[in-house]
């Protein structure tokens, strides 16, 4: 089962909140990369089919990475850089 792993240790880390859980992230990362590392395969649900909505392009084109960031819904997670204290909410809860 594919897992996303850092290929080297980070000099600095910061803490964000994902679906209620405190998680570690790196400066420069996006919300999308953090979610992928945590094991989220999809971040939300398609409003049309109810099926899983997942990132495909990681560059702001596919709109598959939408989630709520700091209270704003419909944010493209791949364009949102994490900062200390960023609060992320998805429609898909992943067990910690």
């Amino acid at each position: 089962m594919t897992v996303w792993k850092h290929h080297e240790t980070a000099a600095k880390t910061l803490t964000i909140v994902v679906d209620g859980h405190q998680v570690e992230a790196r400066p420069g990362e996006t919300v999308a990369t953090v979610l992928l590392r945590l094991g989220y395969r999809s971040f939300g649900k398609s409003p049309v089919t109810g099926g899983p909505l997942a990132p495909a392009c990681l560059m702001g084109v596919c709109f598959g990475c939408l989630c709520s960031v700091d209270g704003r819904p419909g944010i493209q997670a791949c364009l949102e850089t994490v900062q200390d204290g960023t609060v992320v909410e998805t429609d898909v809860q992943v067990a910690p």
């Binding site: 089962m1 594919t2 897992v3 996303w4 792993k5 850092h6 290929h7 080297e8 980070a10 790196r26 420069g28 990362e29 996006t30 990369t33 953090v34 992928l36 590392r37 395969r41 999809s42 398609s46 049309v48 089919t49 099926g51 899983p52 997942a54 990132p55 495909a56 392009c57 990681l58 560059m59 702001g60 084109v61 596919c62 709109f63 598959g64 939408l66 700091d70 209270g71 704003r72 819904p73 419909g74 791949c78 364009l79 949102e80 850089t81 900062q83």
Partner: protein, 486 residues
């Protein structure tokens, strides 16, 4: 909404082309407003350059020139805004073009310190919004875990992560696929298999161009050859002559199935990275109703432009892969050239100055043409329904946002939809969140084929503002966290 002071030029996109254009214009004294929707400059190839150029790793080479290019961000007459999302753009058509603003951009500043909608006017507009992955259609292509190889590259560059622990399969063709394979392996990731979707005999078809390509750009060809060798040597299972590709799973991809050499192969797969080349991102150029031309070899529309980037609108230039796929080196050259042409048009560079500076750029661009033509032939885009035959039309999505299948698109054509916009009206294809970005190219090709018309005549989806979905609260200038910000 904040109306900014007018600028000489607005540049949309701070990748290699946009940075180069900004530099050459700023050097002639023009004021430049440089916008990029990402939180950092560099576009895709120079993603996260501030971190990547400090590394000695195998990827450092692709960042050659990034540091120098980004030095332009601190030039006094370049005002750079990151997290700037263009929402709308319009052009005036004034007869006196020398001083009055010709282009107006409405954009959202998403920077946390000063979020809000802005309006900027300028005498000229340079669009350098680059490229995107070509959509590849097959059953299950929209399952979670199916991404473009560019996405895997972005993840590696953005956060230093590689996919590992099995289940990683790459499928497609092209230098970027091979590069991604190399980068995954170099950084300790795993790849189980490569599904080579390239046409059999592609090399033979491209062979006549090889010699000229080698002479014009030996580095490019050598890079490709070494990548191919590295892939074979790495022990990754390599499959060719693939038919009937399918991604299988419920909540996410679990297996990839295909037929080859007369047998069915089923591979465990939880990450399928797909690639069939890149195509120009034409959202903004379409929004502006510029003329576009269908490029047969690249099977994609690009804005019609002169050699130095001026489009069918006299105040708009395009540069970089958004003007036609040619790679990062050419993007920089074209960016510089477009910047010089803008400067000449706006009167901050005289004709002889332009000729002196532009001539070597044009020569360097032309030198790379044979190599590009060779690559275009070698990796000719797959037919749009190569892996979406009649038997799987019902299961293959063209529009992922609105879940419109290939069967539904054909049905709409059968009912009289003569172009992409009529298909959109009949099926909602292109009406979803991505606003036709992911389905547009495929839709044009499918409709052209189905109606027996040329893609140039079939046309493309009409693009309307806002260019990206926007919160009403942003339009109303309401800041939710205003009261609680210390």
């Amino acid at each position: 909404m904040t109306v900014e002071n007018p600028q000489d030029v607005i540049v949309v996109g701070a990748g290699p082309a946009g940075l180069a254009a900004a530099q050459s214009m700023a050097e002639t004294g023009l004021s430049v407003r440089l916008l990029d929707e990402q939180a950092w400059a560099g576009g895709q190839i120079w993603r996260n350059a501030a971190v990547m150029t400090n590394l000695q790793g195998p990827m450092a080479k692709s960042y050659d020139g990034a540091v120098d290019a980004m030095a332009v961000l601190s030039k006094p007459n370049i005002e750079y805004a990151a997290s700037a999302t263009v929402l709308d753009a319009s052009l005036a058509h004034l007869s006196d073009t020398s001083e009055k603003p010709q282009a107006r951009l409405t954009w959202l500043s998403g920077a946390r310190e000063n979020r809000g909608i802005r309006e900027t006017n300028a005498r000229a507009l340079v669009i350098a919004t680059g490229a995107m992955e070509r959509p590849v259609l097959f059953p299950g292509a929209t399952l979670p875990g199916v991404m473009g190889v560019g996405a895997v590259q972005s993840i590696l560059k953005q956060s230093g992560m590689v996919p590992t622990d099995g289940g990683v399969v790459l499928a497609g063709q092209g230098p970027l696929l091979l590069l991604t394979l190399e980068q995954i392996l170099d950084h300790g990731g795993t790849v189980d298999a490569v599904l080579d979707l390239g046409a059999q005999g592609a090399l033979a078809g491209a062979a006549p161009g090889v010699l000229r390509a080698l002479i014009s750009d030996p580095g490019l060809i050598a890079k490709g050859a070494s990548l191919l060798w590295r892939a074979r040597r790495s022990g990754v299972a390599w499959y060719r002559n693939i038919r009937a590709l399918r991604a299988m799973g419920d909540e996410c991809i679990r297996e990839v199935a295909f037929e080859t050499e007369g047998k069915t192969v089923l591979l465990p797969c939880t990450l399928l990275a797909v690639h069939d080349g890149v195509i120009p991102n034409t959202q903004l150029t379409r929004l502006l109703n510029l003329d576009h031309v269908w490029h047969e070899a690249q099977q994609a529309f690009a804005p019609h432009c002169a050699s130095s980037g001026q489009t069918s609108a006299s105040s708009v230039w395009v540069a970089g892969d958004g003007a036609g796929i040619a790679g990062a080196d050419v993007a920089r050259l074209r960016g510089s050239l477009a910047g010089l042409d803008v400067a000449r048009a706006l009167g901050s560079l005289d004709n002889s100055g332009f000729q002196t500076l532009a001539t070597p750029l044009k020569r360097q661009i032309a030198q790379r043409d044979p190599a590009r033509a060779f690559l275009d032939k070698l990796y000719a885009p797959l037919p749009v329904t190569a892996y979406a035959g009649a038997d799987v039309q019902d299961e293959t999505l063209v529009c992922r946002c609105e879940a419109v299948t290939l069967a539904q698109v054909h049905s709409a054509v059968g009912d009289g939809a003569t172009g992409p916009n009529r298909v959109k009206t009949f099926t909602r294809c292109g009406m979803g969140a991505c606003q036709g970005r992911m389905c547009g190219n495929a839709l044009t090709r499918i409709v052209a084929e189905a109606t027996g018309s040329a893609p140039q005549d079939a046309g493309a989806l009409r693009i309307r503002p806002p260019l990206k979905p926007t919160l009403i609260s942003d339009y109303l200038d309401i800041l939710p966290s205003e009261e609680t910000t210390p």
